[in-house]
Each structure stands twice: as C-alpha cells, then as structure tokens.
C-alpha cells in the first residue's frame, strides 16, 4: 500500500493508540520516576515484597499447571476414550471465561457458602464451614491451574501427538524399560514444548489480577493487586506508578525471552500423522491412568462451573434474622432481587442496571474497536514500509496489563486537557484498547485471504469501489468481522482489571457488581453474586461458542 493512502488508514487507529495508550503510559513513567518515589525506601519495600510474591505464586502456579497439564496432554494426545472431544472442549473454556466468573465458580464450590461446606455442615451438624479454601494460597494456585492447563494440553499435546511413536518403540527394542523411555526419549524430545508452554503459563500467572484479588483476598498482594490497592484504597498514585513500571519491565522481559525461545526451538522433530499415536487404553495400568485423569479433569473443570448456576437457584441457608423455619430448595429469589433497589444494598441503583451498563459498554467497545481495527487490519494485510514498523507497535498493548492501563487512564485523564474521569466513555475506551489488538489480529488473516485479483475482476466487470466492497469483500469478511465483534463483546463484558480502577459507583458493570456482592456479608448478597455470575457465564459461553462456530479455518492461535 502506498504511504499516503496508508497514512489515511492509520490516522484514526494511531491517534487512538497515542492518546489512550502511549500518553497514559508516558504519564505513568513521569509519575514513577519522580525523585520523591525513587528515594522513598517504603515504596521500594512495597514493590519488592509484591514482586517477590508475584514471582513466588507464578512459579508455584506454573509448576502445578504443568503437574496436571502434562499427564492431561498425554491423555489427549495418545488415547481414545468416550466423550473425549467434549472433555477437551471443556478444558479450553476457562481460558476465555471472565475472572469474576471463575472466582464465583470456585466460591460456589468451596467458599464458606459453597456446596462442599454447606453439605458438610449439614451432614456433621457443624457450626462453621470446615473447608477453608478461599483466601488461601491454594485458591490462587488452583484457579490458575484451572485457567492455564489448556495451554499445556494444546502446546505439549500437539508436540506429543505429532511425535514419532517409533522412536519410543526403537528405544524399547534397544533395551530401555518404560521409565528410561520417558527419561531419555519422550521428555528430552518434549522439552522445547514443555518449556514454551511453561513460559507462556508463567506469563499469564505473573500478570493475573482478578483471580488473586477475588480468591486470594487482601493478604496476598501481587504487583497487580498492589497497584490496585495503592491507587484506589491508599490513593498513592506515585507508588502505584512505580509498581506499574516494574510490572511492565518484567512482562516485557519475559515476553522477549519467550518469543526468542519459540523462534530458536521451532524445528525439533519431524511431523507425523497423528492417528498413529492414538489408541484405546489397554491393560489395567492404562485404564487406571485414563480413568484417573478423566475424573480429575472433570472434577476440576466441571464442578466449579456447574456449582455456580446451581448455587444461583438454590437456597441452602437461612437469611440473617430468620433462625428457624427456612426452606432449603430451589428459588429464583436471587434473580428477582437483582431488579429491586434496596436502601441497604450495595448500589444506588437496582443491580440489574449493571447488566444494562455492561451491554452498553460492550456495544460501544464493539463499535469502536471495529471502526479502528478494520482500517488498521486492511493496511496490515498489504504491508508497506510503514506497516512493517507499525505491526509490532500494535502488539504493545497486549504486553501491558489491564490494571496498568486503568492506572494510566486515572493518571492521564484526571486533569486538563483531557479531564475524562467522570465520563461514562472512559470504561469502553479502556475496553477498546484491550480488545483492539485481538480484533486486528482476527481480521487480518481474513483480509489477507482475499486476493487483489477478485477486486480487479469486479472492477473490470464494472463495479465501483463501493460496489466491490459490498459484493466481493464484505461477503468474504462477514464471518471474520462477526468473530472479531463477538470477541470484543466478550472481552468487554468480562473485563475486570481496568474497569475496577475506572468504574464509577453509579455505573457498575456486571463483573464489578459480582465483586461487590461477594465482598458483602449475607446469603442474599451471595446469591445475587451467583445469579449475576451465572448470567455472565451464559453470555460469555454463548460468545465463545459463536466464535468457534464462525471461526475462519487456520486462524487458531493464542
């Protein structure tokens, strides 16, 4: 594309990126590098404590994820068993679920008012919940495992599935027992895949926010949570900025490490047809392994997500003040309560308005990210010099955490010339910033797939540029645009990190409402959190299914 026309395409996206990404980032730099912060030993102490815990939980989470993910990858790569496609799909769903939904799911299963505790209390007539899962390190680790196991299953499983089974057989014939085949053949061959998956999981665990805030509670502060606390609760923006800088530096370092490793480890062993590796389990050892793994996976992936909607329609404990005579059973109270604006409630408005706000924000996000993303993707599809330079620039927002983005917005837009902090537009703007790279990345392959010949043929046949777009490009692009729009929509619906910093009390979104309900005492608040989360889960799952359905073949990527 020639550069003048190219510039026209880029004008809006670049302006947007400049104002809503680089400018806030610049303000964070300005604030974090102030002498008063850099020379404050307490700021450093806070930062180092947070960094240390962030690394600690990320390493532990990664190890636990590998511990489950590696045998699960082996299970999917090597065995046939009934229900396998469904189970595999189930393990992939959490990756796109909003953190608040996942947190609510684990809460519904193992929280003080969750199924396990309530059932145990009733059976053994206990006064207090016996299982203390929430607000423990375990909650963080398990939720991270829940989220990221699918990465290990995909990356390592793919390598396993395409590895040559004859290598293992050759080793066996040469006298290696099973243990040695694992240690000397399978693991060395899988090492690049395991390392790549591990690094990716680590990166996600390192930048995790919602899970830690909601399931870990106030005692476990990672960099992200500490930024949130400093900015929102202690109103100490300079320290928050310093934390953000540390966070950005680390993420950038790990990302570079990861992409360099990926490039180096690309070619490892020859690819094989995958059917050769698949078999039904034979013998008690293999059956035991398959049975055990399937049960563990179902327990981890189905129970929390099933507990949530079930808990949202079940009354299991008396409300405060009604000591006796309550009815345990099915109820829709939690849902109907969402429509009532109570004086004593958490909000100034009926909670259901959060759903309205979320849908409005998501709609705006879709609109904005398509309007900005479509021209950018069009330009990237026919790269010139400018595009080669801009391509990596567009990926930068991906490496920046949502919390940092939220902080940047607070710092940048609280004073003239851009005093936007009270505007209800700020949240969808942040969501657009987060969704934009994904939208561009999902439109680009579809745009590349349309050869110029099609347009030329239509033009020769007498179509005006507008008619060419309408009759040739649009019919081909429709699915990709729908997928990109749905993606932006679900991202916005579930977004918690940036929203938690930017939201105004009178405009809650669904995730924010769930978070506030969960933070309040009482069975009714808990039930409403469950109802909201179930609603969000249904919406998001529908979105995920829609994306799967319209997915353009060959664009599957992390």
């Amino acid at each position: 594309m020639n550069s003048r026309r190219s510039l026209l395409f880029w004008l809006a996206p670049l302006l947007f990126l400049g104002v809503f990404f680089f400018y806030p980032l610049f303000r964070i730099f300005e604030l974090g590098f102030e002498v008063s912060v850099l020379s404050d030993p307490r700021a450093w102490q806070t930062s180092i404590t947070a960094l240390r815990f962030t690394l600690f939980q990320a390493v532990l989470s990664t190890l636990l994820t590998l511990l489950l993910g590696l045998p699960a990858a082996y299970l999917f790569a090597r065995y046939h068993f009934p229900g396998k496609p469904l189970l595999k799909a189930l393990t992939a769903v959490p990756f796109m679920l909003p953190t608040v939904v996942v947190a609510a799911g684990f809460n519904a299963l193992l929280g003080p008012r969750g199924w396990v505790n309530l059932v145990l209390m009733r059976w053994f007539d206990l006064a207090a919940p016996p299982v203390h899962f929430l607000y423990s390190l375990w909650a963080i680790l398990v939720a991270h495992t829940f989220y990221n196991t699918t990465i290990v299953i995909r990356v390592v499983g793919n390598a396993l599935q395409h590895s040559n089974p004859r290598l293992e057989q050759a080793a066996r014939v040469l006298g290696a027992d099973r243990r040695r085949v694992w240690l000397q053949i399978i693991l060395p061959l899988l090492r690049p895949a395991i390392l790549a998956a591990g690094m990716l999981v680590f990166l996600f665990d390192f930048t995790s926010f919602g899970v830690i805030l909601l399931l870990g509670g106030p005692t476990f502060a990672t960099l992200e949570v500490e930024i949130y606390i400093q900015a929102l609760q202690l109103l100490n923006l300079p320290v928050a900025a310093l934390l953000s800088l540390i966070q950005i530096t680390c993420t950038l370092f790990f990302s570079v490490l990861y992409s360099r490793y990926i490039r180096r480890a690309a070619v490892v062993s020859e690819q094989r047809p995958s059917e050769m590796n698949l078999r039904s389990p034979a013998g008690w050892r293999q059956r035991l392994f398959v049975g055990l793994m399937v049960s563990v996976l179902i327990t981890l992936f189905v129970l929390p997500m099933a507990s949530l909607p079930l808990r949202s329609v079940t009354r299991l404990e008396p409300e405060r003040g009604e000591r006796t005579g309550f009815q345990a059973g099915l109820t829709l109270d939690y849902y109907s309560e969402l429509f009532i604006n109570r004086r004593s409630s958490v909000f100034y408005v009926p909670p259901i308005q959060a759903a309205g706000n979320s849908l409005k924000y998501a709609g705006m996000t879709v609109l904005l990210s398509l309007v900005l993303g479509y021209p950018a993707a069009s330009a990237l599809a026919r790269p010139g010099r400018l595009e080669k330079f801009l391509d990596p620039v567009l990926l930068l927002p991906l490496g920046t955490s949502a919390v940092t983005l939220g902080l940047g917005f607070i710092v940048a837009f609280n004073s003239p010339p851009l005093k936007l902090l009270k505007s209800p537009w700020l949240v969808p703007l942040a969501h657009t910033m987060i969704a934009l790279p994904f939208v561009i990345r999902s439109l680009q392959p579809a745009l590349i797939a349309i050869p110029d010949r099609y347009r030329q043929a239509a033009a020769v046949l007498g179509a005006s540029p507008w008619q060419v777009w309408l009759t040739v490009e649009w019919p081909i692009l429709r699915r990709a645009v729908l997928a990109a729009a749905t993606f932006a929509f679900t991202v916005s619906l579930g977004e918690f990190g940036a929203t938690s910093l930017l939201t105004r009390p009178e405009y809650p979104t669904i995730p924010i409402a769930i978070y506030r309900f969960l933070a309040q005492p009482g069975g009714m608040n808990y039930g409403q959190a469950m109802a909201m989360a179930a609603y969000l889960m249904v919406l998001t799952t529908a979105g995920i299914l829609l994306i799967e359905w319209v997915r353009v073949p060959g664009t599957e990527e992390f």
Partner: protein
C-alpha cells in the same frame, strides 16, 4: 532359535494375521514378502513384543516369550523410517542400546566405533542425525540395531524410502553383514527383488496367512497358487477347465499344461504362461492373437495381445498384427 506358533491378530475387527506359524534357523535370513496391509509389519511387532497377539505364541529356544517385556528380548529392529533419536548424535544413537545394557563409557565407545566401521560410517559419530542423507540414516539405524549384539535382527521395509541405485548397493552390504555376523534375521518387504537378493528363505504372506514357504528359486519355479504367480508377476495367469484329453480349455484356446497332480476332466484350474518361453522350437501348444500393445522393456519388447496375454519378443511387431506364439502352460496348485 525363533519359532512362531499359530499367531493371530485382529485390528478393529479386521483379521490381520490368521494362524501364522514358522521358524527361523541358525544364521538364516528369512524374508516376509507380501503386499502392503498383508500383516507382515504387525508380525515383526509381535515378535519384538510391541504388539500382543490375540492367539498363538512366540518361542525362543523353546521358551515362551509372552512374559518377556520388549526391552528384555534382545532383538534388533530396523524401522522403515529409521526412527533415529533426533536429540542424540550419530554416536549417541548407536550407544543407546549399549548404555541400556549397562556397559561402561570406554567399552561403549569402542563398540560404537566398531559399529560405525561395520556400516562404512567411520568418523560420523559426532554428526547430528538430521543432517545425514537417507542412505546414511539407514546405515546409522542398522549400526544402532547391531551394536548391542542382538540374538535376532528384524528389518521392517528398511530400504523403502531410498532410490533404486542406493537400495541395490545397501542390500548387498546388508547381506554381507548378516552373513559375516551370522545373526539370524527376519526381513520384511513388498519388493520381490529385494527379497530374492537377501533371503535364504521367503515366506509369502497373503491375507494374514503364509501361502508359500521356500527358497527364492523354489518359489519362482513352483508358485503354489494363482495368487503367488500374479503377485510375483511370473506371467499371464489364465483360468481354465480340464478336458477329457487332459488339455486345458481357456479363453485363449486349448493348451497343453504340465501339472504336478493328476486332474479329473471338468476340474477348474489356473494356468501360468511365462512370457519368456516363446521360442518356436519349444513345442507345446500355440496361441494366436492380435497385438494390442508393444512396450520396450530391458533389451526386449513386451508384447500384449488382445486376449490379455503378454510375451517378451526380440523385435517389435506391428500393432494389429496377428502373432502365433508357442506356449507351455503350468498348472498352479
């Protein structure tokens, strides 16, 4: 020595092997020859212990191997795609089996060098296996299987991926190595020339059963069935009926046929007509037909008649010309 009794194996309800029995003697090279899908590779995997048969037993020196796991059998197996370990060097690959036997570094190195010399790859020890050519990889696979001193060698279409010239070279080398080491071997292939070159004995496998067992020249001179004659491409095979006079009536005409067994009139038989025995002085019956195709083939012309029979001819006849060919038929089975 190795003995198989009544081996049967199914794969997804399809019978792969159906009661296969044979033995391999001291220093003998046995070739399993059959079309792809005839179950010959599966048979090797069963002997190696990589597959378990539904019925039947594998014995070594009269001892049942059912309870001996793969890694204790001490058999060598060369895979079709070599299956070299990509993360190890050439020397690392060859040393693998020796290390599994618990040999020390010094002895291992000595044996690796020896194995490399044996396959004419001295000095290749430090190379990466992925940098080698197909023929070199094949030699490394052979050296890797030979190095631990297996009591039986098995080859699963080891030359399948190589071009003709290289195959001819390697198969000769392989034969010499097997003869000099005296290790009994089972060689699986679908290529009859390869089989004839390397085998002391050929086992023909069809639909999971051994249909003929004998030395290469035996099998070529006395094919046991119409299938064998067709599979080996020995000549034209005709279906016919024995007449009162002892001749055989076929769609190409009445034929004299040499038969091992006596046949009753009216019996259906298959007749092999070898394409090379067409000299007029050979006697026997004559078949005439119109020439439908002429192809140059190794210093001769392969002439196909309209009735489907083909012969080798020293000069090219005209298309459409009527030829009269003297033939000797052989009864099959």
């Amino acid at each position: 020595m190795l003995e198989l009794k009544n081996i049967s194996k199914k794969y997804e309800d399809e019978i792969l092997l159906n009661g296969v029995s044979f033995a391999v003697g001291e220093g003998e090279t046995v070739c399993l020859l059959g079309a792809s899908g005839s179950g010959k590779s599966t048979l090797l995997r069963i002997i190696a212990g990589l597959d378990i048969p539904e019925a039947g037993c594998v014995y070594w020196d009269n001892r049942d191997l059912a309870d001996v796991p793969v890694h204790h059998r001490n058999f060598g197996l060369v895979f079709q795609d070599y299956a070299l370990f990509p993360h190890l060097t050439v020397a690392g690959n060859i040393a693998f089996g020796l290390k599994m036997q618990g040999l020390g570094d010094q002895e291992t190195n000595r044996r690796v060098e020896q194995a490399l010399r044996q396959v004419s790859l001295a000095g290749f020890g430090g190379r990466r296996v992925n940098d080698l050519s197909g023929g070199e990889q094949q030699r490394v696979a052979l050296a890797r299987a030979l190095a631990p001193g297996p009591r039986l060698m098995m080859f699963d279409e080891p030359l399948g991926a190589l071009d003709r010239t290289l195959r001819d070279l390697l198969i000769t080398e392989l034969r010499q190595i097997l003869h000099s080491t005296g290790i009994p071997a089972i060689y699986v292939t679908h290529d009859q020339e390869e089989a004839a070159t390397i085998a002391d004995r050929i086992l023909l496998l069809n639909e999971g059963q051994i249909v003929q067992d004998g030395a290469p020249q035996e099998i070529y001179s006395r094919p046991a069935s119409a299938w064998v004659a067709r599979f080996l491409g020995l000549g034209s095979v005709l279906d016919g009926t024995v007449t009162q006079t002892g001749q055989v009536e076929t769609k190409a005409g009445m034929l004299e046929a040499t038969c091992l067994h006596r046949h009753v009139p009216g019996q259906a038989v298959s007749i092999l007509i070898r394409p090379g025995q067409n000299r007029p002085e050979a006697g026997g019956s004559k078949i005439s037909g119109r020439v439908s195709d002429v192809v140059f083939h190794q210093e001769q012309f392969r002439v196909t008649l309209e009735n489907g029979l083909y012969f080798y001819w020293h000069e090219a006849p005209q298309l459409g010309e009527v030829l009269e060919v003297p033939v000797v038929g052989e009864c099959l089975g």
